[in-house]
Every structure is written in structure tokens, then in C-alpha cells.
């Protein structure tokens, strides 16, 4: 039970720190800052436990319990970061669902739905984001993959081939 309480408390503490930081000032590299906060707190938690005698009863015993805590923390952190990407940038699909629901039982006409989605410069936004994240570069009006972008593309291409999925997106 102590193990569960300690791991939950650690994750909640990281989440509260993240909320406080975000309300003081929104970081430029948001995902990177999230990783620093969540993994940083995990990294310093043994030291924090040593300095706080009141937390001794919750201290994980042995490497296997620490491994369990680390696994819990990393799994939830990655899950939260995935969710955060939908919080950080508006999801056109989810916004459309709310837009349609706002119209009540009559719904929206097909034209209204099309107009709603057409206002988003989707391709331009994705190109900008890929340039910003150093996944592609623009040279002589051509977009080319950086080494980082090439590695990422290969990972997804490999997954697609293994699972026999058709090209999506």
C-alpha cells in the first residue's frame, strides 16, 4: 500500500508543479519542460526522501520496488504527454464535435461542417511544426528530412510495414 501511495503522491506532486509553472509562465518548449518536471522529480525523489523523515514509512524497499515506482511514473508521464499534445494544440475533430453539439438536435449543415474545418490551414501548420521541431528543413524551396526526421519516419514506416497497415494521415 505504501508503495502505491508513494508513487501516486510523486506523480501528483509533479502534476501540481507543472500546473504552477504553467500558470506563472507558459514555457516555449512545453513538452520538453514537462519531461524535465516529471522525470526530474523522479530523479531527485530518493534524495528528497532522505531529507524528509516523515516520508520514511512510504520509502520503496529495494530495487524491485523502485523499479515499480519508476515504471508507474514513466508510464503515466508518457500517457499524460500524449494527452497534453491534444491540450496544447486545438484538435480540429474534437472542436468540430463541440461545434456540431452546440447546434442541438438540429445539428449543422454539411456546408457548415466543411466551412468549420476549412478555416484551419492544416498542412501549413504541420509543416511549420515540423520545421520548428527540426524534423525537416527547407532548402531551395524543397522540404527535406533532417537526420532526426529521417529516423522518426523510418520508425513509423517500419511499424506500418510490420503491421501491414495502409498509409494513413
Amino acid at each position: 500500500m505504501q508503495l502505491v501511495l508513494f508513487a501516486t503522491g510523486l506523480f501528483l506532486t509533479a502534476f501540481i508543479i507543472h500546473l504552477i509553472v504553467w500558470h506563472i509562465r507558459l514555457p516555449q518548449k512545453q513538452t520538453f519542460t514537462l519531461l524535465i518536471i516529471f522525470l526530474g522529480l523522479l530523479f531527485i525523489s530518493p534524495l528528497f526522501l532522505k531529507l524528509t523523515p516523515s516520508l520514511f514509512p512510504y520509502k520503496p524497499c529495494g530495487i524491485s520496488e523502485w523499479f515499480h515506482v519508476v515504471l508507474f511514473h514513466i508510464a503515466l508521464t508518457l500517457g499524460y504527454i500524449v494527452t497534453y499534445s491534444a491540450i496544447e494544440e486545438d484538435s480540429p475533430s474534437l472542436c468540430l464535435i463541440r461545434y456540431v453539439a452546440d447546434a442541438g438536435t438540429d445539428g449543422r449543415t454539411d456546408e457548415e461542417v466543411r466551412n468549420f474545418l476549412s478555416q484551419v490551414p492544416i498542412i501549413e501548420m504541420r509543416i511549420e511544426a515540423s520545421l520548428r521541431d527540426n524534423l525537416i528543413i527547407k532548402e531551395d524551396d524543397k522540404y527535406e528530412l533532417t537526420e532526426k526526421g529521417r529516423r522518426l519516419a523510418l520508425v513509423f514506416k517500419f511499424t506500418q510495414d510490420i503491421l501491414g497497415m495502409r498509409t494513413g494521415g
Binding site: 500500500m1 508503495l3 502505491v4 507543472h18 500546473l19 507558459l26 529495494g62 524491485s64 520496488e65 523499479f67 515499480h68 515504471l71 508507474f72 508510464a75 503515466l76 508518457l78 500517457g79 494527452t83 496544447e88 480540429p92 474534437l94 472542436c95 468540430l96 464535435i97 463541440r98 461545434y99 456540431v100 452546440d102 438540429d106 445539428g107 449543422r108 454539411d110 461542417v113 466543411r114 468549420f116 474545418l117 476549412s118 478555416q119 484551419v120 490551414p121 492544416i122 498542412i123 504541420r126 509543416i127 515540423s130 524551396d141 524543397k142 522540404y143 528530412l145 519516419a153 523510418l154 513509423f156 511499424t159 506500418q160 503491421l163 501491414g164 497497415m165 495502409r166 494513413g168 494521415g169
Partner: protein, 181 residues
Amino acid sequence: MIVNLNWLLAMTPIVGLTVNTITHALFSRILNKSSVSISIILAFICHIVCTVSISVLVLNSMSLMKGDFWALLGFNLIISLALAYGYFNFINLNIASIRIRLLKEILISDKGLMLDDILTIYNPDKIVNTRIERLISGGQLVSKNGRCVVGAPFILLLANIMEVLKHIIMGQGSRLGKEKQ
């Protein structure tokens, strides 16, 4: 012996994730390409069944108090759900992400792509149509008599939860569509 059981308990969610990826690859191959979601769901079920079964076996061998038993079982279940959620999103990027598709198109092209090439592959009308078709075929939207209504209350609940989270974390809601409403 106790140490080994602790390790086994801690490793169980990873075993579950491994089962998820292997069964997903198998189901994807056995079932045809159109049933992507079925293979994901079947693999997820295998993942959770595997995690819960092994966890219960290990916890029973550890002779714990009832509260500890359920707490540790729930703990492993939460880890497994988080890992499955991460895996699902990784797979979903291959299915739905325009950005990943863009990277793969540039990879295939070998010499890079001009903006016009990209817009030929992906013109704005095609993107809008694909998105609407996906929402309708997934049951999230229902189109009847030229009007669209929400088809799945769950997706509306999810959209509202995301909006509340946006307000709590970012201090503001979605900007998209505000001018139009």
C-alpha cells in the same frame, strides 16, 4: 523468493505490453487491413487479461493483506492502461497523423518535396473530406438529410473533458471556431 516475486510483479505490465504488441502484429496480419480497430481492441484485451492474470497469481503467492492485494493489483492495472494508451497513440499516429504521413512522403520521395508537391498529395479539400469521412465511418458524427449531428455521446464527453483540461492547464479554451460561432 519474496524478492523474485516483487520483481515479477513489477515486470508484469511490461510483459502485458509485449503481449499487446505481438498479438497486435498477429491480429493485423490475420485480419484484413480494413479492421485496424478490431486488431487494436483484441490486442488490448490480451494485454489486460495477461497483466491481471499474472498479477493475481503473483499477489496470491505473496500472502498479503486484502487491502495491499487490491492496491497492488490496481497499481499494475493503471500502469498497464497507461502503457496501452501510449501504444495505441503510437499506432494511431501511423493511421491519423498528417505530420507523420508528411515525413513518410518526404522519405519515399528521396529528393525532398516542394510545397506544391505536398499540396498535390494533400489538398485542403481532400483533408476536410478525409476527416469528415473518418468521423462518420467511426460513428462520431451522423449525417442525415444533409445535416450532421453527434453520433457518439462518448466522443462529446471526451471533447468536453479536453476543453475543461484546457481551461485548467492553459487557462483558456479552444480558439478554433470561436470566430465562426
